[in-house]
Subunit: 314 residues, 2 copies
């Protein structure tokens, strides 16, 4: 059921591919996360609480699909790529835990469950986020003395790229812009400002997830560039769809407080462009994403992920 070659088989439907790859990610996360007695029980539990709360696993799926798309035999070596995919998901999870805090977005519900600080208190939630971020880099540095020199080089390149995407120049910088702007009117952002904020806040890590997969899958520089361009368009589409779902979604379906962005006076694509034009923008971004792949002779699962991002309902 989870044999190494199955997911790359073109006869396997995208749903089955995604299901198999997600199961591999869940199992690897469970194996890689710290546990007692090495780790104090409370922090281990708080870390797992948000990691295993039914996330879509978009980012690790991107990493795996990017690696598969460039691997010579059509399937990358999971020993190298799965830890990278998990590290990306831990960074994404830490960002959710911290963004939900009262001092940030002040969300009490995520994926239909109370947020981490509601369950464990703010102090432990902050620490659980810190630990998830740190753990991600520990996992990225996992290596064997017998690794080929080239593999060590790819690990360091991957680590460097992910850290840049997650840090002050990327995700954290975007969240800082968002936090500083919240409470002010949406006039703070025009279309270019909104896009620049999201390129950091959600776009940078999505791009790094795909690029990391390409690096670890052994891509050429041209392939890595194409995957990176694909993911830049995909990240934009993802964010627009997210904003649309926030407006449209019933609270039950998306599992977080719907309409919350509008209520907080946060700038969104629907607020700036309206729903119909936002949908057109998302579709065009997905087309651009697939175009970037095609130009480099890539496609496959990455193209299917782009379709899925456009069609998602949560």
């Amino acid at each position: 059921m989870t044999s190494g070659s199955e997911p790359a088989d073109a006869d396997v439907s995208f749903d089955d591919y995604a299901r198999t790859r997600r199961a591999a990610v869940e199992a690897a996360l469970d194996r890689l996360l710290p546990a007692p007695p090495a780790c104090p029980p409370l922090i281990a539990e708080a870390m797992r609480y948000t990691v295993f709360s039914g996330g879509k696993r978009l980012r690790p799926l991107l990493t795996l699909a990017a690696a598969d798309s460039v691997a010579p035999c059509g399937t990358a070596d999971d020993r190298d790529v799965l830890p990278t995919a998990c590290a990306i998901e831990l960074i994404h999870t830490y960002s959710l835990v911290h963004d939900d805090l009262p001092a940030m977005d002040d969300d009490t519900l995520r994926r239909g469950r109370p947020t981490a600080h509601v369950v464990y208190g703010e102090g432990i939630a902050i620490l659980a986020g810190d630990a998830l971020l740190t753990e991600a880099f520990r996992i990225l540095a996992l290596h064997s003395e017998s690794d080929a020199p080239d593999l060590r080089n790819r690990r360091l390149r991957t680590l460097s790229r992910i850290a840049t995407a997650a840090g002050a120049e990327g995700m954290v910088g975007g969240q800082a812009i968002d936090v500083a702007a919240t409470g002010t009117t949406s006039a703070t952002f025009d279309a270019a400002g909104l896009r620049a904020m999201h390129e950091r806040k959600t776009g940078a890590l999505i791009r790094a997830a795909a690029a990391a997969g390409a690096y670890m899958g052994g891509s050429s520089d041209a392939e890595a560039d194409a995957v990176d361009r694909y993911a830049a368009h995909l990240g934009l589409a993802f964010q627009i769809v997210d904003d649309i779902l926030d407006v449209e979604g019933e609270q039950e379906r998306i599992g977080k407080t719907a309409g919350k962005d509008a209520e907080a006076g946060k700038p969104t694509y629907p607020a700036l462009f309206g729903l119909a034009e936002s949908r057109r923008l998302a579709a065009r971004s997905v087309a651009d994403a697939k175009g970037a792949l095609k130009a480099a002779g890539l496609g496959g699962r990455l193209s299917e992920i782009a379709n899925w991002v456009l069609g998602r309902t949560r």
Copy 2:
């Protein structure tokens, strides 16, 4: 004044050695920290605020001294070791920013200045801490395509060790134990429990700082083990002295709210053992630290750092 060979010269006093090495750390931190326009100005400023607030730089000094102590020529290559030392200091700084938050130790004063969340608000302070931690790993992953395979291996080993020390099994785990215990009576910890908590909370990163220096300086495994044992004793001495200073120190001199630990019902060495016995314990730990070095034919600046830790008044 800052020529590469000077600091290793045995004729240079420890004060001069420490001053020269600290100046190198300050300059490297300034060069390595993100800045506008790549980084949004507010988060760049908030990161620098606590980094440049007059810290003792004990940990980066340990990294540099450990590297110098094992380097064949008596001075390690700063190109490899200085970034490692800076990364350790950024991790230490992030932990201060987060520990000072209202949901944790709720400190409004550090090193005589308002803490980061007082100046920038809680949201930006949390993000500045996140960014400092992420930046540390970006710096540790800095590499050149022309690096020797052995150097890449040492980088990954260093990164792995530091991440383990900083994460749920180390520093964050220790802080989680502390946060969970605060408010309960000091009877929660006996001597073994207090020591185990501090081995994680402050000890793990101090050990990693020294071990990372040894790795990056090109140590043998036996030398790295000796430096690690030294730093384990040193970390204990550091914590005991910290507790003593908290009881004794005037608020002006240590720059944080004195007697705060006792007030918060936090367990401390003086509370468990009294001041006189705490001083004896600290002195014995420093002797043990120097003994561990001597057994491996090491000493020099690392021994002098141990003396300094015992005699410090802030």
